[in-house]
Amino acid sequence: MPLADVEQTFMQCLIKPYHDVDMFMSKLVVAGSLSPEKQISIYRSNINGAHESVLVQIYPACKTILGEGYFNQLCLLYRIQFPSKHADLNKYGKHFPVFIKVFLEKHNELQVFSYLHDLALLEWYWHAIYYSSNDLPFDFSLLANVAKDQQQKLVFHLSNTVSLQSSCYPVLAIWDANRAELSSEKQKSEQSFEMPDEEICFCIFRDNYEMALKELSATQFEILQAINAGQTLGELSDRFGGDLQSALNYYIQQGWISGFSVDEMSNVR
């Protein structure tokens, strides 16, 4: 069997834990105390454990809510549907919120966990932004140099270290209560959360080196969404009027806006 076939069949055994291993096993021999079956099962188990521990680290609140056994089952299903395609293990788990969403849609009995997608998304942003690239400081002098007739075309850029999210569930309270391991089942069963009257809006961001989360008003959130969608300063002014100036000042001060561009010049941060 050429090396290519060995590697490919070995990998198939690992990324498909229920895959028939006969062909690969025929290439193995008993070694010391390890039968060919045991040899494959050791690697399958090692890999499962390594991937699972990444998801446990990224999604602690989801794990607490679902319980260890159920969460571990989901981790395995996730690994089968989304095998790692990146050398950076920090990127594994990116599709878990979507996976959860589809899983919930297929299982009516899990409707009680309908908020889990939003919770998982929050946990993903919290993890991913920690590792995202730095912005250079906003250069105000370049902003002052923009010609008056160009100002309306100016487009602000949202920082790499900010993600926007909204939810119709009390997802922040749920997250807060379930991030750390709960000390007892009793404590867990006592949890109850009121549904918010309206959608809650927030942004997750890196403040220096620490992760942070800030609740936003509906208008603040819409302005940030519009900026993220690439709307020009002219469009933003027309849409948000008097609310815009103070909001922009606040976002720049927070570091949530990292730069700007216009047709002829750019200050991409």
Binding site: S33, L34, Y43, A87, D88, T161, R206
Partner: protein, 288 residues
């Protein structure tokens, strides 16, 4: 503080160092304990921004550092990941990293990543393939890398030589150096029945540039190279065998799970130094 390229030359890598893990970074930076050098898991220090690159820069300002990576997939039939390699090279230059070590294995194929160290058959085909890949990596980096023997839980019918023969031939063909992990040899002895003393005697000592020590865990029907325990007595004995031939080669303590206080790792490093010293002074160390 923005990252800036250091001007100073790195200190030498000598004596017994410690594999730096994130739980100890704060203490290392605050207390700057007396540790001769540190090995960093390169893959854990490649974040684009935030605290991790700052910590890397700060650690490299204080300690001589080597990189240990798991993402090069030296044995894979996939094309080499030059983007990943480029990032490694940039960090190594920026922080004066003394050398890069990788593993005798593949980790990815067909674009799928196992994030585990997967063994290959010890065949002529594997040997030619891996030697060529290592040559390309070394050409790109402009320096030799170290290749480490791994814990292996599999034996291929197609293997044409044992691991010690394979890694020796590889070092010569690829003109690379070796990192010998004594615990991995012992784990392979327990699981696969290899002869650890014979393995050590076969090694090309002139190419061994670093030695690893770690602990294993007893599992159901096998032992796992879990790096979650002190170095076991038989591994200390084997280490004694090995360092008779390598009196000046730097040694490293690896501990990755159930990580104890830094002081415990320093005790383990001290023990490695004491045993080495005993050999230098000609005191025999019983091999069990």
């Amino acid at each position: 503080m923005l990252l800036q390229e250091k001007q100073k030359a790195p200190g030498p890598i000598s004596g017994t160092g410690i594999g730096l893990r994130s739980s100890h970074v704060g203490e290392i930076l605050m207390k700057q304990p007396d540790i001769p050098w540190l090995e960093l898991l390169a893959d854990n220090h490649m974040a684009a921004g935030g605290l991790i690159p700052e910590q890397l820069a700060a650690v490299c300002e204080i300690y001589p550092v080597t990189f240990h990576s798991v993402g090069l997939s030296l044995g894979s039939i996939d094309p080499l990941d030059f983007k990943y390699l480029g990032k490694l090279k940039k960090l190594m230059r920026q922080h004066h990293v003394a050398w890069l070590s990788e593993h005798l294995c593949f980790t990815s194929v067909d674009g799928f990543h196992s994030h585990d160290l997967l063994p290959m058959p010890y065949s002529q085909e594997s040997l030619q393939h891996m030697a060529q890949r290592i040559t390309h990596v070394q050409d790109f980096l402009g320096e030799r890398i170290l290749v480490e023997n791994v814990s292996n839980y599999m034996k291929f019918a197609e293997s044409e030589m044992d691991e010690a023969e394979f890694i020796t031939a590889l070092a010569i063909q690829a003109d690379c150096d070796l990192l010998i992990d004594v615990n991995n040899i012992y784990v392979n002895h327990l699981n696969l029945g290899i002869d650890p003393v014979r393995y050590i005697k076969q090694l090309p000592f002139e190419r061994v540039r670093e030695v690893h020590l770690a602990g294993y865990e007893q599992k159901d029907g096998f032992v796992l190279d879990a790096h979650n325990n002190p170095v076991s007595d038989p591994v200390w004995d084997l280490y004694g065998q090995l360092i008779q031939h390598l009196p000046n080669v730097p040694v490293l303590i690896e501990w990755d799970n159930d990580i104890p206080p830094l002081s415990r790792l320093m005790e383990e490093a001290h023990k490695a130094d004491v045993i080495k010293q005993q050999y230098r002074q000609g005191i025999s160390y019983a091999i069990s």
